[in-house]
Amino acid sequence: MLMLFVAGCGEVWNDPYPRSERGANILYSAFVNRPKHLDPVQSYTVDESLFTRQVYEPPLHYHYLKRPYELIPLTAAEVPKPKEIDGGKFTVYEIRIRPGIRYQPHPAFVERNQALSASEIKKLKTPYDLPLGTRELVAADYVYQIKRLAHPRLHSPIYGLMAEYIVGLPEFADKLKKLNRPGWIDLREHVLAGVEEVDRYTYRVTLKGRYPQFVYWLAMPFFSPIPWEAEKLFHQPGMELKNFTLDWWPVGTGPYMLRENNPNARMVLERNPNYRGMPYPSEGESSDGEAGLLKDAGKTMPFIDRVVFSREKESVPYWNKFLQGYYDSAGISPENFDHAVRVAVDGGAEPSPEMLERGIELSTAVAATVFYFGFNMKDPVVGGNSERARKLRQAISIAVDMEEYLSIFLNGRGIVAHSPVPPGIFGAREGSEAMNPITHVWRDGREQRRALAEAKKLLAEAGYPEGTDAKTGAPLVLYFDTTSRGPGDKARLDWWRKQFEKLSIQLEVRETDWNRFQEKIRKGTQQVYGLGWHADYPDPENFLFLLHGPQARTDGAGSNSSNYASAEFDALFERMKSMPNSPKRQQIIDRMVEIARRDAPWIFGFHPKDYTLRHQWLANVKPNDMAGNTMQYLRVDPQRRAEFRRQWNRPVVWPVLLLLLALAISVVPAVRTYRKRERMAARPAA
C-alpha cells in the first residue's frame, strides 16, 4: 500500500542521482573508459580531454561554431604570427597572454600547504580539504609546462615531435635526465634555450626551421599553463600514496574545476568561481541561426554550474538511462541505431518516431577521421612501384565496395573516402573534384563506383587474369591482417572475402590481437590491413603525413603504416607542410592526392559520421571535432528536465503486487498438503 501511495504521489524511484541535485543546473553525461592521465603533459586521448579541456586553457582554441575550423585566442591576446629569422633557419612565436586571468581555487596557492606533515596528509580525503588560494596566470606558467615536455619522469607523447622543432629541447631533456632524482625538480632553475619568458605576460618559443602547424599545437592541452606550486604541492611525501598527483587533480584557469575524481564511478566538474567568463559566439555558419545556435550570442559563459560524469561500461544501461532522461545526450551504439534513427532514401538521417515523440534531437557531423585499408608497399605481391603491383592495387580498390560496407556495417554512418583528407579540412575538395577517378566515375550528378569489369581488366593487365598468376598458374592468395576476431566480426570478415572473390582472389583473414597486429605493422610483415587516424589539428599535413616516405613505420616510429614512398609525393609534402593555406597549397595537395590515388597504397575507406542524440532541454549542441572545451557553451533547462523525468519514470507497482499475490496463492496447496501429511496416522503402503 505504501508503494502504491508513493507511486501515486508522482515520486520518481529510479533516479540514480542524489535528491539534493534535483532541479539543479547540472549537465549529466557519461564516460566509458576511465581516464589514464589528466596531466596535460601526458594526456592525449578523447576520453581524457573530456575533463582536461574544461580545466586547462592553452593559449588558443577553436571557434565553437565556425567551419572550417578557425583558431582564435583563448588566454592569448591574439593568434601569434610566426617570425622567421636567419632566412627561415629559425621561426619565433611570441605569445602574449591577457592579464588578470586567475587560477581556480586550489591548495597549491596557499604557502602553508607546501609544508604539510605526514599526519595532515594522511587525514585528507581530497586535496580540496586544504585551505584554498589562487593567483594570476603568468607567462612563466606556460614556459614551465613546455619544459615539462622533456621531464624524465613524465612521458609526453609529443616530446619526440617537439624535440625536432623546439630549440634546445633535446639538450634540456638530457640535462634533466642527469639530474633525475626522487622528489620535485624545480624546472624554473633550468634554462631551455628555445623557450623564454619575455615579461610577466609574454613568452617566446623558437623553433628550428619552419613549422606552421605549431600554432595548432598551441590549442592543445600539451601547451597549457602549469603553476610550479602545484607540482611542488603534489610532490610532498605521502601525497602520491593517496593518489594526490597532478596526473589526477588538474589545476587550471578554465571554466570548470575537477572537484570529485572517482574514475571508477563518477567525475564531477564544478564551475570555477575565479573564471573570467567568455561571451558566447555571435557568429557561425549560415545555418546556425536557424538551428537556434545563436540565441545566447554575447551572453557570458559557462551556463551550467556542474557537470556530472557517471561511468557506464555497458551500452544497455547507458542507452536506457538516456531514454529515461538521466543523461542529457548520448551517442548511438550499433545495436540501438534502428531504434534511434530513421535513414531516408537519400541517405539523410533523422530521429525515429519514438525519439521524436520524446522530443529528442539528432546532430550529425563528418568526423575529422579517416579509416583506411592499406597495402604494405614492402610486400612482394601487393607492394612496390611496379605497374603490375599498382594495377593490382587499383583493381582491388575498385572491387571493394565501400558504399556497401557503410550501408551494411555502419548503418550509413560515414562517407566514402576519396583521399586521406576528410571534408572540412583545408585541401579537401567537394563534388566531382573530390572524386577518386581511379575507383569512381561522375555520372548523373553523383559519383558512382566503376564497374567490376574495369577492375577485372586491370587485374588481367597486372598479370592475374581471373585471379590466377599468368606466369605460374597459381591462384592469387592475399592475406588480410585484422584485430576483428569476435563472433560479431564474422559477417564483416566474410564480406571482405566476398569483395576479393569478385576478382577471383582468395583472401585469407589472419585474425590477431592488437599487440601482434602492431608488431606485424612495425616489422612490415602485413599484406593488407585496416587502420584509422583522427586529426590532431585541422591541417592536411596531419593526414598526408600518413603517406610520407621518411615516416615509414618499418624505418622507425613514423605513422606511415603502408611504408609508401614516392619521391614526388615526398618532395611535395615537404613543400606543402610549411605553407600557409593558399591556392598554391591547394594545388600541391591536389597533386599529392592524385599521386596517392594513382599509386593506391590505400583503399581509401571512409570518413565516419558522428551521431549525437540530445534531449530537448539541452541547448547549443554543435559537434566540434577539434575544440574539446565545449561544456561551457551548453545550456540546460533543469525544470523542463525534471518534468519530463517525472512523466517518463512513474513507478509501475501493480505487477509486483500481482506477483506477490500469485506467490501467496501458490503457497495454499503446499500448506494444505503439509497439514494433510501431518495428520496422517501412517504412511500409505507403497
Binding site: V12, W13, N14, D15, P16, P18, R34, K36, H37, Y44, T45, P152, H155, P157, Y159, G160, L161, E240, L241, K242, N243, T245, D247, W248, N262, N264, A265, S310, R311, E312, K313, E314, V316, P317, N320, K321, L323, Q324, Y326, D513, W514, N515, Q518, D536, G556, A557, S559, N649, R650, P651, V652, V653, P655, V656, P669, A670, T673, Y674, R677, E678
Partner: protein
C-alpha cells in the same frame, strides 16, 4: 589445532608461489613488456625511446625469469618475476601502470563489492536452503517435480540474460530502481537491490538442486527413520535433524566462498556500474595492467586458501567427531 593451522599456512606458501608463477607466465606469454608499454603510452606518436623509458621506470627492462648475465643469486633475483613477486608476500602491491596506488584502490573498492556480494550470499543461501527443504519435504509430489523442472530451467539460463532481462523489466518498464550506478552510505541500497535480486534468482536453480540432493541423501538415513518412528513432526525432522546433519556438505560449499566475496562480481559490477573489485580486475585485464592483475590473482589465491582453512575449521564446530590434528 594450532599446529594444524600453522602447517596449513606453511603449505600455502608454495601454492602462492606456484599461482604467482603461473599468472606471470600466462600473462607474459600473451603480453610482452613492449606490448604493455605500447598499450599504456597509446598508439599515436610513440617513439622507441619512450617505450624504453616506460619499461625502465617500471622495471620491465630486465629478463623475465632468468638473468643469464647476472652473477650468482642475481640470476634469479635480478628478474622481473622476482622483483614483482617478492613484495606481494609482504602485501605491498605497489602501483598500477597508471601510477595509482593499488592498495588504496582495493580499500576503496572493497566496500561496493561487499555491499553487493554479502546480501547475494546470505539471502541466496537462505532462499536456496529453504527452497531445497521444501522440495525435499514434498518429495515425489507435483510440487517437487515442478520445483526441479523450474530449477533446471533456471540453471539453463545465462547470468547475462538475468541481468539484461532484470534491468529491462524492473528498471526500464516498471521504473522501480535505477538501472545502474552506485552511491555511498544508505543511498547504496537503491542501487544494489536489483543486482542482489538478480544474483539470488540466478543462483536458485543450481543452489536449490544441490541442497535438495544433500537433504534427500540425509533423509534416507537411519536416524531420520528413527525420528519419524518416534512420532516427530516432519518439519521437526527436517529442520532440527536433517538440516543439522547436512551442514557439512553445505559448509563445504558455503564457507569457502566467504573470503572470496571480497573479490566482487566480474559481470554484475560491470553491468550495474558498481565500482568494486570485480570491475577493477576486468579493467586491468583489458588494459593489460600486470601490476593489478597480479595483485588481484594473489589476493584471490590467499582468500581461497583462507576459505579452505575456514571450511576445515568449521567442520569441527558442526561435527564434534572431527578433530584437526
Amino acid at each position: 589445532m594450532l599446529a594444524y593451522i600453522v602447517r596449513r599456512v606453511l603449505y600455502a606458501i608454495p601454492i602462492l608461489i606456484g599461482v604467482n608463477l603461473i599468472t606471470f607466465v600466462l600473462f607474459f606469454v600473451v603480453n610482452t613488456p613492449d606490448d604493455m608499454a605500447r598499450m599504456h603510452l597509446g598508439a599515436k606518436r610513440v617513439t622507441p625511446e619512450a617505450l624504453e623509458k616506460w619499461k625502465q621506470e617500471r622495471g620491465y627492462d630486465r629478463d623475465l625469469l632468468w638473468n643469464e648475465k647476472a652473477p650468482g643469486l642475481g640470476k634469479v633475483t635480478d628478474t622481473i618475476f622476482f622483483d614483482k613477486s617478492v613484495k606481494l608476500f609482504a602485501f605491498d602491491f605497489g602501483r598500477a601502470e597508471d601510477r595509482r596506488d593499488i592498495a588504496h584502490e582495493i580499500r576503496t573498492r572493497m566496500g561496493p563489492s561487499l555491499a553487493l556480494a554479502i546480501p547475494v550470499f546470505l539471502v541466496g543461501l537462505a532462499v536456496n536452503i529453504t527452497f531445497a527443504l521444501l522440495m525435499a519435504f514434498f518429495r515425489a509430489t507435483y510440487l517437487d517435480f515442478w520445483g526441479v523442472v523450474l530449477c533446471v530451467a533456471m540453471m539453463s539460463i545465462s547470468t547475462l540474460f538475468y541481468i539484461i532481462g532484470g534491468q529491462y523489466m524492473v528498471s526500464k518498464i516498471l521504473h522501480l530502481v535505477p538501472i545502474s550506478g552506485y552511491d555511498g552510505g544508505f543511498e547504496a541500497a537503491k542501487f544494489v537491490i536489483l543486482p542482489v535480486l538478480i544474483g539470488v534468482v540466478s543462483g536458485i536453480g543450481s543452489g536449490s538442486r544441490w541442497y535438495r540432493t544433500i537433504f534427500l541423501e540425509e533423509m534416507g538415513r537411519d536416524y531420520v527413520r528413527t525420528a519419524r518412528a518416534k512420532g516427530l513432526a516432519e518439519s521437526v525432522v527436517l529442520f532440527r535433524h536433517v538440516l543439522k546433519n547436512a551442514m557439512i556438505p553445505i559448509l563445504t560449499g558455503a564457507v569457502v566462498v566467504i573470503p572470496l566475496l571480497f573479490m566482487g562480481s566480474l559481470l554484475a559490477e560491470s553491468f550495474f556500474g558498481i565500482p568494486g573489485l570485480g570491475s577493477y580486475t576486468i579493467d586491468a585485464i583489458q588494459a593489460q595492467d600486470f601490476a593489478v592483475v597480479r595483485s588481484m590473482v594473489f589476493i584471490g589465491s590467499v582468500l581461497y586458501i583462507i576459505g579452505l582453512l575456514l571450511t576445515d575449521l568449521s567442520y569441527t564446530v558442526v561435527d564434534p567427531r572431527i578433530r584437526l590434528e
